[in-house]
């Protein structure tokens, strides 16, 4: 008999996920401190960026009730977690590296205010290109979807990234690259996520 316990079964987040994870989006205030889509404080080190995009379903329609979380390293390429033992890189006390955002109920647009992460060392000492980890849940998603966002201005690093290179199809690799845009009020990376169909985003079993 296998001595391992089985992981608890996943269930959809449902249409009212905002009540639990982002009550102000549901239309009320209940907690004193809320988890949100702004990862930076004035003390955070690194280049300020905004990430925005739309999640679409298999018909191309925006998913307006999606919840997206991101997890990323700081500007030095260090995760704010005791498991990151990379030498010579410091934790930034002004940066946890985690946030969550709800799409707009009308437009479907989600956004984060964060910083561009540094490169993190991957397995066997191979550097990974700067990237941000995404987790996507919504009504109709039975188990949270994992993907990664990479940066369009990191062409050389992306070409050597061990995870991007696992994706056999060149055409599908492009679904992970967010496009850098210089706006009047700062740098925006556009990252649209397609759950199904043409140009379906690459999702990972991690």
């Amino acid at each position: 008999m296998n001595p391992l316990l089985r992981e608890t079964a996943s269930q959809t987040a449902g249409p009212y996920v905002h009540i639990g994870l982002a009550p102000s989006a549901a239309g009320f205030e209940i907690f004193e401190k809320n988890f949100g889509n702004v990862l930076t404080t004035p003390q955070t080190q690194g280049e300020r960026i905004r990430i925005e995009g739309i999640v679409t379903d298999g018909s191309g329609t925006p998913v307006r009730d999606v919840l997206v979380e991101i997890w990323q390293a700081n500007a030095a390429g260090k995760y704010n977690h005791p498991g990151d033992r990379q030498e010579g890189r410091a934790i930034d006390p002004g940066f946890r590296g985690w946030g969550r955002a709800c799409s707009d109920f009308e437009t479907g647009l989600y956004s984060f205010e964060t910083i561009k992460p540094g490169s993190v060392t991957g397995r066997n000492g191979r550097p990974m290109a700067p990237h941000i980890n995404f987790w996507i849940v919504a009504r109709g998603i039975n188990i949270g979807l994992h993907t990664r966002m990479y940066f369009s201005d990191e062409t050389a690093a992306n070409a050597n990234d061990p995870v991007i290179n696992l994706i056999e199809w060149q055409v599908r690799r492009q679904t992970l690259i967010a496009k850098r845009e210089e706006h009047a009020n700062g740098v925006v990376y556009r990252f649209d996520i397609r759950l199904q169909g043409e140009n379906e985003t690459v999702f990972f079993d991690i």
Partner: protein, 247 residues
């Protein structure tokens, strides 16, 4: 049992047979929201084995008391309950300092959400969400009222059994999990299309909380026990290849 894992060690590969498939036609919304391509399997790196860390000072004293945290001028209507249990990994080890977030409908089956238009009444004294961290033993507890069942647009006469939504964040990004807890004996359980999306009876039973008479508060509240298992955290043997040098 292997030696205890350290932060930054690997997690067990996910057993996909423990979960509903992304495409479960009985739950109609999943049809257009499920990827058609196979997931790309990754060996874990620091990006997958680390996760956000939370501290107790981010939480208010009523965050895990749903009977009081949404109350305006009295108590919410409904059956008073305590829900508690342990968050463990697949090796049975406690997952301490895990973030547990819960949300639910009120006793009428109505959610405090601007998109919920069900005729069931809102309760001015009930918000419907709570959150907490597990302790050193992986234990969590919250107080609430029993959520009501409600109809939903799937087939025209589908009703959700009473349930509480859970989101859990453990010690690694791979452990992130969203699920729902159900109540022992609910007659809507056998026909719920969302619950039936899980193709394994043992895994369905794992989502059904049992009444726990030993934890009742006399003349006050009943109790239910709901334990959660997250991905197993294992010691990385011989070479710490997740973040070590090339071999």
């Amino acid at each position: 049992m292997t030696r205890a894992p350290q932060p930054g060690d690997e997690f067990l590969m996910r057993d996909t047979t423990s979960h509903p498939p992304a495409h479960a036609p009985g739950y109609k919304t999943s049809v257009l929201r499920s990827p058609r391509n196979a997931l790309i399997s990754l060996q874990q790196s620091l990006s997958e084995v680390t996760a956000p860390v939370y501290s107790a000072d981010e939480f208010g004293p009523l965050d895990n008391d749903l009977i009081k945290n949404g109350a305006k001028n009295g108590l919410p209507v409904g059956e008073r309950l305590i829900v508690h249990g342990y968050v463990r990994d697949q090796f049975g080890r406690p997952v301490k300092n895990a973030l547990v977030e819960v949300w639910q409908a009120n006793a009428s089956g109505r959610y405090r959400h601007k998109k919920d238009t069900y005729i069931g009444a809102l309760d001015p004294n009930f918000g419907g969400c709570g959150r907490m961290l597990t302790d050193e033993n992986g234990y969590y507890v919250f107080r609430t009222i029993k959520p009501g069942p409600y109809p939903w647009r799937n087939r025209v006469n589908d009703w959700r059994p009473s349930h509480i939504h859970y989101a859990i964040s453990g010690d690694g990004w791979v452990q992130r999990l969203i699920t729902q807890m159900y109540f022992e004996g609910d007659p809507l359980i056998p026909t719920c299309p969302i619950l039936r999306s899980i193709p394994d009876e043992e895994q369905i039973r794992g989502l059904i909380a049992l009444q726990d008479t030993g934890s009742f508060v006399q003349l006050d509240s009943r109790a239910y026990r709901f334990d959660i298992v997250l991905r197993g955290h294992r010691a990385t043997l011989f070479e710490n290849i997740v973040q070590g040098a090339a071999q």
